[in-house]
């Protein structure tokens, strides 16, 4: 056990924890917006896959990573739009539509991958950028300020999302629509429009989350490459109590523990690998039991809105 508590190991855990948290952050922050407006989008995983595929394909064909990112965002937007139509306009049961969206995204990304690429190839993704000055700080510079653009983006997204939710007219509408859509409606707030916006925003961010895998972390596309990360992202939103800072805490905790379990294995500590792989999940449950009733979920979460009902 002692071999885990050396400086290089701890720095390694923090460094990979930060990198690993990136896709979760994009996806979970996007999902936070959707849920704060009252829509549970369980289809994040499928959207991430579409984003990962599209981002990769575009980047590969154009040779431009930023176009790839744009492509991923667009794919996410379209998936978000589909989810909005189904769950907001057609008022479908949100949990189930999410499962449908996942199947759709998983299938379509794989199908397109087969038809357009055929096999696995890799590209040169976003490279680490050392932040001037800060990047020179011993140790800290390396683990905090020597990442690729998408990692920085994910962490900057947190305060930004927090600001938008709490200090803008849009954020106020989102919060109101998620708590009491009838009330918002009587004040002329377009409930449907707000929900479309948040779900689409969530879609865009989930798309970028996928791209952060295929364009920055792994640099290739493979079918079902997210293997359920989207579900974890949704879980992190609950974990974070529907607040961006809380989501950040959850994403870091989950990623750190995941990094830790890999280190446990690397260091040859005698725990069956299957049990080690369980650790992040068990820890998340434990952390949840400790944080229990802390936050109240948006009152209208999963409830479709229709005018005239009260």
């Amino acid at each position: 056990m002692a071999e885990l508590f050396t400086l290089p190991v701890l720095l390694g855990i923090i460094y990979s924890g930060i990198r690993l948290a990136t896709p979760y952050l994009y996806a979970a922050i996007g999902e936070t917006f959707a849920q704060r407006s009252g829509v549970l989008n369980l289809g994040v995983d499928g959207i991430m896959l579409m984003g990962a595929y599209t981002g990769f394909y575009v980047a590969m064909k154009t040779g431009n990573l930023f176009l790839g990112l744009l492509g991923a965002a667009t794919a996410g937007l379209l998936m978000g739009l589909l989810m909005s139509v189904v769950s907001v306009s057609l008022q479908a049961e949100q949990g189930i539509s999410g499962i449908g969206l996942n199947l759709f995204g998983l299938g379509l990304s794989t199908l397109l991958f087969k038809v357009t690429l055929g096999g696995v190839e890799s590209i040169r993704g976003f490279q680490p950028i050392r932040v001037p000055l800060l990047g020179q700080i011993p140790y800290l510079g390396e683990i905090f300020f020597n990442h690729n653009l998408l990692v920085y983006g994910a962490f900057l997204l947190v305060p930004l999302a927090n600001y938008v939710l709490n200090n803008t007219t849009f954020g106020l509408k989102v919060r109101a629509v998620g708590q009491n859509p009838q009330a918002a409606d009587t004040l002329g707030v377009n409930v449907t429009l707000i929900r479309y916006t948040t779900v689409c925003l969530g879609g865009i961010l989930a798309g970028i989350a996928g791209a952060s895998l295929s364009l920055a972390l792994i640099n290739l596309f493979q079918e079902n490459m997210t293997s359920g990360m989207g579900f974890i992202a949704v879980a992190l939103v609950y974990f974070g109590g529907w607040r961006p800072w809380g989501v950040l805490g959850g994403a870091l905790l989950f990623s750190f523990v995941n990094a830790l379990q890999l280190w446990v294995q690397v260091k040859g500590i005698n725990i069956p690998s299957d049990i080690a792989v369980m650790m992040p999940y068990i820890l998340t449950i434990i952390a949840l039991t400790l944080s229990g009733r802390r936050a109240r979920q948006p009152q209208a979460l999963t409830k479709p809105f229709e005018r005239g009902e009260n």
Partner: protein, 320 residues
């Protein structure tokens, strides 16, 4: 669906029909692709689709679905139905007796169920540890840091053989080498595999290897971080043209050829095949873009020879 074709002695004009059921996809750069490519090669040899028909079901990680597919292909009168996944064994042992006129094959395993009185199942397996041992040798000799990383999927079957061989090879080549091994618990979790590779690199590894379709994630990371990769099952060079040093490639054609020949001759099972360096089923393929010192290449060849003539046990080392 067509009714089961009454099996007459093989007629010349009728095509030979093969069906294969695989857990991952035919483009997985690993287990399934290696087999499918071999099938296609045999198809070409046999004179194309009109003479040699291939049907496949990929992504059948759900065993009951795979079982249905196996049964279905048999019922449709395919001459050889291949269950390309060790997890399909139980299902196969239940289906094969219902279609005594059909030849089945099970990979990867060496059990043809003859002990259960079943005579129409072939079995095949790759002796992955052989290539693992050789690659371990090369990696240990090339490593500057003295640390190797192994990205395993689950600690069983083909992956286990390969990993054990790799570790043994490395340790024998350089007794003070450190080999770190991780498992992600999944054949398909690309992201976690990528994280595992990251961790290995952070722990000082400069040479990585791993098995299963999920290693593409690890190769992507190795490429990004300037580490080298040693592949197995299928050529993974496209993912890391300057990263993959060498690969143990499975060449199943010898197995397929013999099964086809045997089935045509009316022996529908009971044979167990292995892929080894000796029978040419395993091949060590270098990537031209990554220079490997000649002395190391020579050492590798020596190791292969040792394995072939039995002086080296790929799971432990040279025999006394």
């Amino acid at each position: 669906a067509q009714p089961a074709a009454p099996t007459q002695p093989a007629q010349e004009e009728k095509p030979f029909r093969v069906a294969v059921v695989m857990p991952s996809t035919i483009t997985d750069l690993a287990f399934s692709q290696s087999f499918f490519e071999a099938l296609k090669k045999v198809q070409e040899e046999e004179g194309g689709p009109s003479k040699f028909e291939i049907a496949y079901s990929e992504g059948m990680f759900n065993v009951p679905d795979a079982a249905a597919a196996i049964r279905d292909y048999a019922a449709q009168g395919y001459d050889l139905v291949i269950a390309h996944g060790s997890q399909y064994g139980t299902s196969l042992s239940q289906i094969a007796p219902d279609f005594p006129e059909t030849a089945f094959a099970w990979g990867t395993s060496l059990d043809t169920f003859q002990a259960q009185g079943i005579n129409n199942v072939y079995a095949y397996q790759a002796e992955s540890q052989e290539g693992g041992y050789v690659l371990g040798t090369i990696a240990a000799l090339m490593s500057k840091s003295g640390v190797l990383g192994v990205c395993g999927p689950v600690n069983a079957g083909d992956a286990k053989l390969f990993v054990d061989g790799f570790v043994a090879g490395a340790k024998n080549a350089k007794p003070d080498i450190q080999v770190n091994v991780t498992f992600t618990g999944s054949f398909s979790d690309v992201s976690l595999m990528a994280s595992a590779a990251e961790t290995h690199i952070a722990a000082g590894a400069d040479m990585l290897t791993g098995s299963s379709q999920s290693v593409v994630g690890a190769i992507g990371v190795a490429k990004d971080r300037g580490a080298y990769w040693f592949g197995t099952q299928w050529e993974q060079t496209p993912v890391g043209p300057e990263t993959v040093v060498a690969t143990q490639v499975f060449d199943w054609t010898i197995v397929i050829r013999d099964m086809v020949k045997s089935a045509r001759a009316g022996v529908l099972g009971g044979k167990a095949y292995t892929l080894t360096f000796k029978n040419g089923g395993l091949k060590l393929v270098y990537n031209d873009k990554v220079p490997v010192p000649d002395d190391i290449k020579a050492k590798a060849q020596e190791t292969i020879n040792g394995i072939m003539n039995g002086t080296i046990d790929p799971l432990s080392g040279p025999k006394q």
